[in-house]
Amino acid sequence: MMRMLERIGHGVLVHVGEMGRMLVFVVSSFAWLLRPPLRADQIVKQVHFIGYKSTFVVVLTAGFTGMVLALQGYYTLRKFGSEGLLGSAVALSMIRELGPVLAALMVTARAGSAMTAEIGIMRITEQIDALDTMAINPLQYLIAPKLVAGLIGVPLLVAIFDVVGIYGGHLVGVELLGVNAGSYWNSIESSVEWKDVYGGILKSISFGLIVSWVCCYKGFYTRMSAEGLGTATTEAVVLSSVLILVWDYFLTSVLL
Protein backbone atom coordinates (compact mmCIF):
# COMPACT_ATOMS: atom_id res chain seq x y z
CA MET A 1 0.00 0.00 0.00
CA MET A 2 2.76 2.42 1.02
CA ARG A 3 4.75 1.52 -2.07
CA MET A 4 1.77 2.23 -4.29
CA LEU A 5 1.24 5.60 -2.63
CA GLU A 6 4.93 6.37 -3.04
CA ARG A 7 4.72 5.54 -6.72
CA ILE A 8 1.63 7.70 -7.21
CA GLY A 9 3.25 10.54 -5.25
CA HIS A 10 6.43 10.27 -7.32
CA GLY A 11 4.42 10.32 -10.54
CA VAL A 12 2.50 13.40 -9.42
CA LEU A 13 5.71 15.19 -8.43
CA VAL A 14 7.35 14.38 -11.76
CA HIS A 15 4.36 15.74 -13.68
CA VAL A 16 4.05 18.85 -11.53
CA GLY A 17 7.79 19.47 -12.05
CA GLU A 18 7.39 19.04 -15.81
CA MET A 19 4.45 21.45 -15.89
CA GLY A 20 6.46 23.98 -13.91
CA ARG A 21 9.35 23.64 -16.34
CA MET A 22 6.98 24.12 -19.28
CA LEU A 23 5.57 27.26 -17.70
CA VAL A 24 9.03 28.71 -17.03
CA PHE A 25 9.98 27.85 -20.62
CA VAL A 26 7.11 29.78 -22.20
CA VAL A 27 7.26 32.74 -19.79
CA SER A 28 11.05 33.07 -20.28
CA SER A 29 10.64 32.89 -24.05
CA PHE A 30 8.08 35.70 -24.09
CA ALA A 31 10.23 37.70 -21.68
CA TRP A 32 13.18 37.36 -24.08
CA LEU A 33 10.93 38.63 -26.85
CA LEU A 34 10.69 41.99 -25.10
CA ARG A 35 14.45 42.46 -25.09
CA PRO A 36 16.25 43.83 -28.12
CA PRO A 37 17.05 42.93 -30.79
CA LEU A 38 13.57 42.23 -32.17
CA ARG A 39 14.05 39.32 -34.55
CA ALA A 40 11.36 40.30 -37.03
CA ASP A 41 13.03 38.37 -39.85
CA GLN A 42 12.89 35.18 -37.78
CA ILE A 43 9.22 35.77 -36.96
CA VAL A 44 8.34 36.30 -40.65
CA LYS A 45 10.29 33.16 -41.56
CA GLN A 46 8.39 31.13 -38.97
CA VAL A 47 5.00 32.55 -39.98
CA HIS A 48 5.87 31.47 -43.51
CA PHE A 49 6.76 27.99 -42.26
CA ILE A 50 3.81 27.49 -39.90
CA GLY A 51 1.24 29.46 -41.87
CA TYR A 52 1.95 29.58 -45.58
CA LYS A 53 3.39 26.10 -45.87
CA SER A 54 0.40 24.60 -44.05
CA THR A 55 -2.10 26.30 -46.36
CA PHE A 56 -2.44 23.43 -48.82
CA VAL A 57 -3.20 20.77 -46.22
CA VAL A 58 -5.58 23.14 -44.40
CA VAL A 59 -7.46 24.00 -47.61
CA LEU A 60 -7.73 20.32 -48.51
CA THR A 61 -8.99 19.35 -45.06
CA ALA A 62 -11.36 22.32 -44.88
CA GLY A 63 -12.86 21.59 -48.30
CA PHE A 64 -13.66 17.99 -47.53
CA THR A 65 -14.83 18.78 -43.99
CA GLY A 66 -17.32 21.32 -45.36
CA MET A 67 -18.43 18.87 -48.04
CA VAL A 68 -19.06 16.01 -45.65
CA LEU A 69 -20.82 18.33 -43.18
CA ALA A 70 -23.16 19.45 -45.95
CA LEU A 71 -23.79 15.85 -46.99
CA GLN A 72 -24.61 14.70 -43.46
CA GLY A 73 -26.47 17.89 -42.61
CA TYR A 74 -28.62 17.79 -45.75
CA TYR A 75 -29.99 14.27 -45.14
CA THR A 76 -30.61 14.99 -41.45
CA LEU A 77 -32.29 18.37 -42.06
CA ARG A 78 -34.38 16.97 -44.92
CA LYS A 79 -36.18 14.71 -42.44
CA PHE A 80 -37.52 17.87 -40.79
CA GLY A 81 -37.98 19.79 -44.01
CA SER A 82 -35.29 22.27 -42.96
CA GLU A 83 -32.78 21.99 -45.82
CA GLY A 84 -32.73 25.77 -45.93
CA LEU A 85 -30.79 25.80 -42.65
CA LEU A 86 -27.93 23.86 -44.19
CA GLY A 87 -25.73 26.94 -44.59
CA SER A 88 -26.27 27.84 -40.95
CA ALA A 89 -25.36 24.33 -39.76
CA VAL A 90 -22.20 24.21 -41.86
CA ALA A 91 -21.04 27.72 -41.00
CA LEU A 92 -21.68 27.53 -37.26
CA SER A 93 -19.97 24.13 -37.00
CA MET A 94 -17.01 25.47 -38.94
CA ILE A 95 -16.61 28.80 -37.19
CA ARG A 96 -17.27 27.65 -33.65
CA GLU A 97 -15.63 24.22 -33.55
CA LEU A 98 -14.28 22.44 -36.58
CA GLY A 99 -12.29 25.31 -38.05
CA PRO A 100 -10.14 26.06 -34.99
CA VAL A 101 -9.82 22.43 -33.86
CA LEU A 102 -9.09 20.77 -37.20
CA ALA A 103 -6.80 23.53 -38.45
CA ALA A 104 -4.82 23.36 -35.19
CA LEU A 105 -4.58 19.57 -35.45
CA MET A 106 -3.34 19.87 -39.04
CA VAL A 107 -0.75 22.44 -37.98
CA THR A 108 0.35 20.11 -35.18
CA ALA A 109 0.78 17.25 -37.60
CA ARG A 110 2.57 19.24 -40.29
CA ALA A 111 4.44 22.11 -38.65
CA GLY A 112 4.45 21.11 -34.97
CA SER A 113 6.17 17.79 -35.51
CA ALA A 114 8.69 19.46 -37.84
CA MET A 115 9.41 22.12 -35.20
CA THR A 116 10.09 19.47 -32.55
CA ALA A 117 12.32 17.51 -34.91
CA GLU A 118 14.22 20.64 -36.01
CA ILE A 119 14.86 21.90 -32.48
CA GLY A 120 15.61 18.36 -31.26
CA ILE A 121 18.23 17.84 -33.97
CA MET A 122 19.73 21.20 -33.10
CA ARG A 123 19.95 20.04 -29.48
CA ILE A 124 21.51 16.66 -30.36
CA THR A 125 24.06 18.15 -32.77
CA GLU A 126 25.01 20.83 -30.22
CA GLN A 127 23.75 23.69 -32.40
CA ILE A 128 21.81 25.04 -29.39
CA ASP A 129 24.97 24.84 -27.28
CA ALA A 130 26.76 26.69 -30.09
CA LEU A 131 24.22 29.52 -29.79
CA ASP A 132 24.87 29.64 -26.05
CA THR A 133 28.63 29.82 -26.56
CA MET A 134 28.11 32.78 -28.91
CA ALA A 135 26.21 34.51 -26.10
CA ILE A 136 22.99 34.29 -28.11
CA ASN A 137 20.06 33.13 -26.01
CA PRO A 138 18.38 30.17 -27.77
CA LEU A 139 15.01 31.07 -26.26
CA GLN A 140 15.23 34.50 -27.84
CA TYR A 141 16.65 33.44 -31.18
CA LEU A 142 14.98 30.08 -31.71
CA ILE A 143 11.89 29.69 -29.55
CA ALA A 144 10.27 33.14 -29.18
CA PRO A 145 9.84 33.66 -32.97
CA LYS A 146 8.15 30.25 -33.24
CA LEU A 147 5.75 31.06 -30.40
CA VAL A 148 4.80 34.38 -32.02
CA ALA A 149 4.44 32.68 -35.40
CA GLY A 150 2.04 30.15 -33.83
CA LEU A 151 -0.05 33.01 -32.45
CA ILE A 152 -0.20 34.69 -35.85
CA GLY A 153 -0.21 31.73 -38.23
CA VAL A 154 -2.89 29.51 -36.71
CA PRO A 155 -5.65 32.19 -36.58
CA LEU A 156 -4.96 33.03 -40.24
CA LEU A 157 -5.17 29.37 -41.17
CA VAL A 158 -8.39 29.01 -39.20
CA ALA A 159 -9.90 31.92 -41.14
CA ILE A 160 -8.96 30.19 -44.39
CA PHE A 161 -10.32 26.89 -43.05
CA ASP A 162 -13.69 28.49 -42.20
CA VAL A 163 -14.10 30.15 -45.59
CA VAL A 164 -13.03 27.11 -47.60
CA GLY A 165 -15.20 24.82 -45.44
CA ILE A 166 -18.27 26.98 -46.00
CA TYR A 167 -17.61 26.98 -49.75
CA GLY A 168 -17.11 23.18 -49.62
CA GLY A 169 -20.54 22.94 -47.98
CA HIS A 170 -21.93 25.17 -50.71
CA LEU A 171 -20.46 22.95 -53.40
CA VAL A 172 -22.15 19.83 -52.08
CA GLY A 173 -25.32 21.38 -50.63
CA VAL A 174 -26.15 23.81 -53.43
CA GLU A 175 -24.41 22.47 -56.52
CA LEU A 176 -24.87 18.72 -55.96
CA LEU A 177 -27.90 18.32 -53.70
CA GLY A 178 -29.90 21.24 -55.02
CA VAL A 179 -30.36 23.41 -51.92
CA ASN A 180 -31.32 26.94 -52.86
CA ALA A 181 -28.20 29.13 -52.97
CA GLY A 182 -30.02 32.14 -51.55
CA SER A 183 -31.30 30.24 -48.53
CA TYR A 184 -27.81 28.73 -47.98
CA TRP A 185 -26.17 32.17 -47.72
CA ASN A 186 -29.13 33.83 -46.00
CA SER A 187 -29.19 31.23 -43.24
CA ILE A 188 -25.47 31.87 -42.66
CA GLU A 189 -26.02 35.61 -42.51
CA SER A 190 -28.93 35.35 -40.10
CA SER A 191 -27.41 32.79 -37.73
CA VAL A 192 -23.72 33.63 -37.49
CA GLU A 193 -23.03 36.35 -34.95
CA TRP A 194 -19.87 38.27 -34.22
CA LYS A 195 -19.73 36.39 -30.93
CA ASP A 196 -19.17 33.17 -32.88
CA VAL A 197 -16.37 34.73 -34.90
CA TYR A 198 -14.66 36.17 -31.83
CA GLY A 199 -14.94 32.80 -30.10
CA GLY A 200 -13.31 31.09 -33.08
CA ILE A 201 -10.50 33.66 -33.13
CA LEU A 202 -9.92 33.26 -29.39
CA LYS A 203 -9.77 29.49 -29.76
CA SER A 204 -7.40 29.68 -32.72
CA ILE A 205 -5.01 32.00 -30.87
CA SER A 206 -4.91 29.72 -27.83
CA PHE A 207 -4.48 26.62 -30.02
CA GLY A 208 -1.65 28.35 -31.87
CA LEU A 209 0.08 28.94 -28.56
CA ILE A 210 -0.48 25.34 -27.43
CA VAL A 211 0.99 23.86 -30.63
CA SER A 212 4.09 26.03 -30.76
CA TRP A 213 4.67 25.89 -26.99
CA VAL A 214 4.39 22.11 -26.61
CA CYS A 215 6.30 21.31 -29.81
CA CYS A 216 9.14 23.74 -29.06
CA TYR A 217 9.39 22.54 -25.47
CA LYS A 218 9.57 18.87 -26.43
CA GLY A 219 12.25 19.57 -29.02
CA PHE A 220 14.27 21.81 -26.71
CA TYR A 221 14.44 19.20 -23.96
CA THR A 222 14.79 16.13 -26.15
CA ARG A 223 17.02 13.32 -24.91
CA MET A 224 20.38 13.14 -26.66
CA SER A 225 19.67 10.22 -29.00
CA ALA A 226 17.81 9.38 -32.18
CA GLU A 227 15.32 7.39 -30.12
CA GLY A 228 14.89 10.34 -27.78
CA LEU A 229 14.15 12.58 -30.75
CA GLY A 230 11.54 10.13 -32.08
CA THR A 231 9.91 9.95 -28.65
CA ALA A 232 9.95 13.74 -28.28
CA THR A 233 8.25 14.19 -31.67
CA THR A 234 5.56 11.63 -30.88
CA GLU A 235 4.96 13.13 -27.43
CA ALA A 236 4.76 16.62 -28.92
CA VAL A 237 2.08 15.63 -31.43
CA VAL A 238 0.06 13.58 -28.94
CA LEU A 239 0.23 16.13 -26.12
CA SER A 240 -0.59 19.06 -28.43
CA SER A 241 -3.57 17.22 -29.92
CA VAL A 242 -4.93 16.18 -26.54
CA LEU A 243 -4.45 19.65 -25.06
CA ILE A 244 -6.22 21.22 -28.04
CA LEU A 245 -9.28 19.01 -27.52
CA VAL A 246 -9.31 19.43 -23.73
CA TRP A 247 -8.81 23.20 -23.92
CA ASP A 248 -11.50 23.39 -26.62
CA TYR A 249 -14.02 21.86 -24.24
CA PHE A 250 -13.23 24.27 -21.41
CA LEU A 251 -13.16 27.29 -23.69
CA THR A 252 -16.46 26.30 -25.33
CA SER A 253 -18.10 25.85 -21.95
CA VAL A 254 -17.04 29.39 -21.02
CA LEU A 255 -17.90 30.99 -24.36
CA LEU A 256 -21.39 29.49 -24.76
Binding site: P37, I121, M122, T125, E126, Q127, D129, A130, D132, T133, M134, A135, I136, N137, Y141
Partner: protein, 256 residues
Amino acid sequence: MIKLVGVKKTLGGQPVLQGVDLVIPPGKLTTIIGRSGEGKSVLLKHMIGLLQPDEGEVWVDGTEISRLKGHALNEVRKRFAMLFQGAALFDSLTVFENVAFPLREKLRMKGASVTTRVEEKLEQVGLAGMGHKYPAELSGGMRKRAGLARALVMQPEIILFDEPTTGLDPLMAKSIHDLITGMQRKFGFTGVMVSHEIPEIFGISDYVAMLKRGKIAAMAEPAEFQQTSDPEIKEFISVGGPVPPATASAIRQGVS
Protein backbone atom coordinates in the same frame (compact mmCIF):
# COMPACT_ATOMS: atom_id res chain seq x y z
CA MET B 1 43.60 32.50 -17.28
CA ILE B 2 41.02 29.79 -16.66
CA LYS B 3 41.12 28.14 -13.28
CA LEU B 4 38.99 25.27 -12.01
CA VAL B 5 38.94 24.63 -8.28
CA GLY B 6 37.54 21.39 -6.85
CA VAL B 7 34.97 21.00 -9.63
CA LYS B 8 32.57 18.12 -9.09
CA LYS B 9 29.78 17.06 -11.42
CA THR B 10 27.38 14.13 -11.40
CA LEU B 11 25.38 13.35 -14.53
CA GLY B 12 22.54 10.82 -14.57
CA GLY B 13 23.52 9.61 -11.11
CA GLN B 14 27.06 8.91 -12.32
CA PRO B 15 29.90 10.96 -10.79
CA VAL B 16 31.87 12.34 -13.74
CA LEU B 17 34.12 15.05 -12.33
CA GLN B 18 35.27 14.35 -8.80
CA GLY B 19 37.26 17.38 -7.78
CA VAL B 20 39.05 18.81 -10.79
CA ASP B 21 41.78 21.35 -10.06
CA LEU B 22 43.20 22.81 -13.22
CA VAL B 23 44.87 26.02 -14.36
CA ILE B 24 44.91 26.84 -18.07
CA PRO B 25 47.82 29.20 -18.86
CA PRO B 26 46.91 32.21 -21.02
CA GLY B 27 48.10 32.42 -24.62
CA LYS B 28 49.04 28.74 -24.75
CA LEU B 29 47.51 25.59 -26.21
CA THR B 30 46.63 23.10 -23.50
CA THR B 31 45.41 19.66 -24.46
CA ILE B 32 43.33 17.50 -22.14
CA ILE B 33 43.62 13.77 -22.71
CA GLY B 34 41.97 10.83 -21.02
CA ARG B 35 40.00 7.67 -21.68
CA SER B 36 36.60 7.83 -23.36
CA GLY B 37 33.83 8.67 -20.92
CA GLU B 38 36.17 10.29 -18.40
CA GLY B 39 34.33 13.61 -18.75
CA LYS B 40 36.74 15.65 -20.87
CA SER B 41 33.96 17.30 -22.88
CA VAL B 42 32.01 17.85 -19.66
CA LEU B 43 35.06 19.60 -18.25
CA LEU B 44 35.31 21.79 -21.34
CA LYS B 45 31.63 22.75 -21.08
CA HIS B 46 32.19 23.90 -17.49
CA MET B 47 34.82 26.37 -18.71
CA ILE B 48 32.29 28.21 -20.88
CA GLY B 49 29.34 27.87 -18.51
CA LEU B 50 27.35 25.39 -20.60
CA LEU B 51 27.33 23.19 -17.49
CA GLN B 52 27.41 24.30 -13.88
CA PRO B 53 29.40 22.32 -11.32
CA ASP B 54 27.63 20.66 -8.40
CA GLU B 55 30.56 21.80 -6.28
CA GLY B 56 33.65 23.86 -6.90
CA GLU B 57 34.49 27.05 -8.78
CA VAL B 58 35.33 28.02 -12.34
CA TRP B 59 37.31 31.23 -12.71
CA VAL B 60 37.89 33.12 -15.94
CA ASP B 61 40.47 35.71 -15.01
CA GLY B 62 38.92 37.49 -12.04
CA THR B 63 35.35 36.24 -12.53
CA GLU B 64 33.84 33.17 -10.94
CA ILE B 65 31.41 32.01 -13.64
CA SER B 66 29.86 28.86 -12.22
CA ARG B 67 26.94 30.74 -10.64
CA LEU B 68 26.58 33.40 -13.31
CA LYS B 69 23.46 33.55 -15.45
CA GLY B 70 21.93 35.61 -18.22
CA HIS B 71 23.64 38.84 -19.20
CA ALA B 72 26.60 38.43 -16.82
CA LEU B 73 27.40 34.98 -18.22
CA ASN B 74 26.99 36.22 -21.78
CA GLU B 75 29.51 38.98 -21.11
CA VAL B 76 32.08 36.32 -20.15
CA ARG B 77 31.13 34.13 -23.10
CA LYS B 78 31.88 36.97 -25.51
CA ARG B 79 35.55 36.26 -24.82
CA PHE B 80 35.13 32.62 -25.84
CA ALA B 81 34.55 30.52 -28.93
CA MET B 82 34.09 26.80 -29.12
CA LEU B 83 34.69 24.27 -31.87
CA PHE B 84 32.35 21.35 -31.21
CA GLN B 85 33.02 17.70 -31.94
CA GLY B 86 30.59 17.68 -34.86
CA ALA B 87 31.35 21.35 -35.69
CA ALA B 88 27.71 22.27 -34.72
CA LEU B 89 27.19 24.29 -37.88
CA PHE B 90 23.62 25.49 -38.43
CA ASP B 91 22.13 23.15 -41.04
CA SER B 92 19.79 25.73 -42.48
CA LEU B 93 22.55 28.23 -43.20
CA THR B 94 25.31 28.16 -45.81
CA VAL B 95 28.96 28.04 -44.75
CA PHE B 96 29.21 31.79 -45.39
CA GLU B 97 26.11 32.50 -43.31
CA ASN B 98 27.39 30.24 -40.53
CA VAL B 99 30.67 32.13 -40.31
CA ALA B 100 28.90 35.47 -40.64
CA PHE B 101 26.33 34.50 -37.99
CA PRO B 102 28.13 35.79 -34.86
CA LEU B 103 29.11 39.01 -36.66
CA ARG B 104 25.55 39.71 -37.72
CA GLU B 105 23.88 38.57 -34.52
CA LYS B 106 26.32 39.87 -31.91
CA LEU B 107 28.06 42.80 -33.54
CA ARG B 108 25.06 43.71 -35.76
CA MET B 109 27.49 44.06 -38.66
CA LYS B 110 26.11 44.27 -42.20
CA GLY B 111 27.16 44.39 -45.83
CA ALA B 112 30.68 44.50 -47.17
CA SER B 113 32.43 44.48 -43.81
CA VAL B 114 30.86 41.08 -43.05
CA THR B 115 31.77 39.74 -46.47
CA THR B 116 35.38 40.85 -46.16
CA ARG B 117 35.84 39.35 -42.71
CA VAL B 118 34.10 36.07 -43.52
CA GLU B 119 35.98 35.56 -46.77
CA GLU B 120 39.25 36.27 -45.00
CA LYS B 121 38.50 33.59 -42.40
CA LEU B 122 37.33 31.08 -44.99
CA GLU B 123 40.55 31.62 -46.88
CA GLN B 124 42.62 31.15 -43.72
CA VAL B 125 41.02 27.75 -43.09
CA GLY B 126 41.29 26.70 -46.73
CA LEU B 127 37.62 27.05 -47.63
CA ALA B 128 37.85 29.95 -50.07
CA GLY B 129 35.02 29.75 -52.60
CA MET B 130 33.03 27.24 -50.53
CA GLY B 131 30.85 29.78 -48.77
CA HIS B 132 27.75 29.00 -50.82
CA LYS B 133 27.67 25.34 -49.75
CA TYR B 134 25.47 23.96 -46.97
CA PRO B 135 27.04 21.94 -44.12
CA ALA B 136 25.41 18.75 -45.44
CA GLU B 137 27.39 19.15 -48.67
CA LEU B 138 30.76 19.24 -46.88
CA SER B 139 33.08 16.45 -45.80
CA GLY B 140 33.87 15.97 -42.10
CA GLY B 141 37.17 17.81 -42.40
CA MET B 142 35.62 20.72 -44.26
CA ARG B 143 32.89 21.02 -41.63
CA LYS B 144 35.55 21.24 -38.91
CA ARG B 145 37.34 23.92 -40.92
CA ALA B 146 34.12 25.86 -41.30
CA GLY B 147 33.52 25.48 -37.55
CA LEU B 148 37.03 26.78 -36.92
CA ALA B 149 36.40 29.77 -39.20
CA ARG B 150 33.21 30.54 -37.23
CA ALA B 151 35.13 30.23 -33.97
CA LEU B 152 37.88 32.56 -35.20
CA VAL B 153 35.74 35.21 -36.83
CA MET B 154 34.97 37.05 -33.58
CA GLN B 155 38.69 37.07 -32.70
CA PRO B 156 38.10 35.50 -29.28
CA GLU B 157 40.62 35.45 -26.46
CA ILE B 158 39.88 31.82 -25.62
CA ILE B 159 38.94 28.96 -27.94
CA LEU B 160 37.80 25.54 -26.75
CA PHE B 161 38.24 22.59 -29.11
CA ASP B 162 36.18 19.50 -28.37
CA GLU B 163 37.86 16.57 -30.14
CA PRO B 164 38.44 18.55 -33.34
CA THR B 165 39.85 15.60 -35.28
CA THR B 166 37.49 12.80 -34.26
CA GLY B 167 36.32 10.80 -37.24
CA LEU B 168 38.90 12.23 -39.64
CA ASP B 169 41.58 10.33 -41.54
CA PRO B 170 45.18 10.87 -40.32
CA LEU B 171 46.05 13.34 -43.07
CA MET B 172 42.95 15.44 -42.48
CA ALA B 173 43.52 15.22 -38.72
CA LYS B 174 47.04 16.51 -39.22
CA SER B 175 45.85 19.39 -41.37
CA ILE B 176 43.30 20.38 -38.70
CA HIS B 177 46.00 20.19 -36.02
CA ASP B 178 48.31 22.31 -38.15
CA LEU B 179 45.52 24.80 -38.68
CA ILE B 180 44.72 25.06 -34.97
CA THR B 181 48.35 25.40 -33.99
CA GLY B 182 49.08 27.86 -36.80
CA MET B 183 46.13 30.04 -35.82
CA GLN B 184 47.05 29.85 -32.15
CA ARG B 185 50.60 30.99 -32.89
CA LYS B 186 49.31 33.74 -35.19
CA PHE B 187 46.53 35.17 -33.02
CA GLY B 188 47.86 34.16 -29.59
CA PHE B 189 44.53 33.03 -28.16
CA THR B 190 44.29 30.70 -25.19
CA GLY B 191 43.45 27.26 -26.56
CA VAL B 192 42.03 24.31 -24.67
CA MET B 193 41.72 21.13 -26.69
CA VAL B 194 40.22 17.78 -25.82
CA SER B 195 41.82 15.10 -27.94
CA HIS B 196 42.61 11.42 -28.28
CA GLU B 197 45.28 11.99 -30.90
CA ILE B 198 48.32 10.52 -29.20
CA PRO B 199 51.18 11.03 -29.96
CA GLU B 200 50.36 13.98 -32.29
CA ILE B 201 49.17 16.24 -29.49
CA PHE B 202 52.62 16.13 -27.87
CA GLY B 203 53.98 17.80 -30.96
CA ILE B 204 51.48 20.66 -31.06
CA SER B 205 50.52 21.43 -27.45
CA ASP B 206 52.23 23.76 -25.02
CA TYR B 207 50.80 21.80 -22.09
CA VAL B 208 49.17 18.40 -21.72
CA ALA B 209 46.82 17.45 -18.89
CA MET B 210 45.34 14.04 -18.22
CA LEU B 211 41.89 13.49 -16.72
CA LYS B 212 41.75 10.23 -14.79
CA ARG B 213 38.90 9.03 -12.58
CA GLY B 214 37.35 12.49 -12.50
CA LYS B 215 40.51 14.34 -11.49
CA ILE B 216 43.52 15.86 -13.22
CA ALA B 217 46.15 13.18 -12.77
CA ALA B 218 48.99 15.15 -14.37
CA MET B 219 49.71 18.36 -16.21
CA ALA B 220 53.02 19.38 -17.71
CA GLU B 221 54.79 20.43 -20.86
CA PRO B 222 54.77 17.62 -23.45
CA ALA B 223 58.40 16.52 -22.95
CA GLU B 224 58.00 16.43 -19.19
CA PHE B 225 54.60 14.77 -19.43
CA GLN B 226 56.07 11.88 -21.39
CA GLN B 227 58.61 11.23 -18.63
CA THR B 228 55.81 10.48 -16.16
CA SER B 229 56.35 7.71 -13.67
CA ASP B 230 52.62 6.96 -13.33
CA PRO B 231 52.24 3.48 -14.93
CA GLU B 232 48.63 4.10 -15.98
CA ILE B 233 49.47 7.35 -17.76
CA LYS B 234 52.55 5.72 -19.26
CA GLU B 235 50.47 2.90 -20.66
CA PHE B 236 47.83 5.33 -21.97
CA ILE B 237 50.28 7.54 -23.85
CA SER B 238 52.48 4.72 -25.07
CA VAL B 239 49.69 3.10 -27.12
CA GLY B 240 50.26 5.51 -29.98
CA GLY B 241 54.00 5.64 -29.37
CA PRO B 242 55.43 8.78 -27.81
CA VAL B 243 56.92 11.39 -30.07
CA PRO B 244 60.63 11.89 -29.45
CA PRO B 245 61.27 15.46 -28.23
CA ALA B 246 63.31 16.24 -31.36
CA THR B 247 60.40 15.27 -33.62
CA ALA B 248 57.96 17.24 -31.48
CA SER B 249 60.14 20.31 -31.77
CA ALA B 250 60.38 19.86 -35.52
CA ILE B 251 56.59 19.63 -35.82
CA ARG B 252 56.13 22.81 -33.78
CA GLN B 253 58.66 24.71 -35.88
CA GLY B 254 57.06 23.45 -39.06
CA VAL B 255 53.66 24.61 -37.87
CA SER B 256 54.80 28.02 -36.76
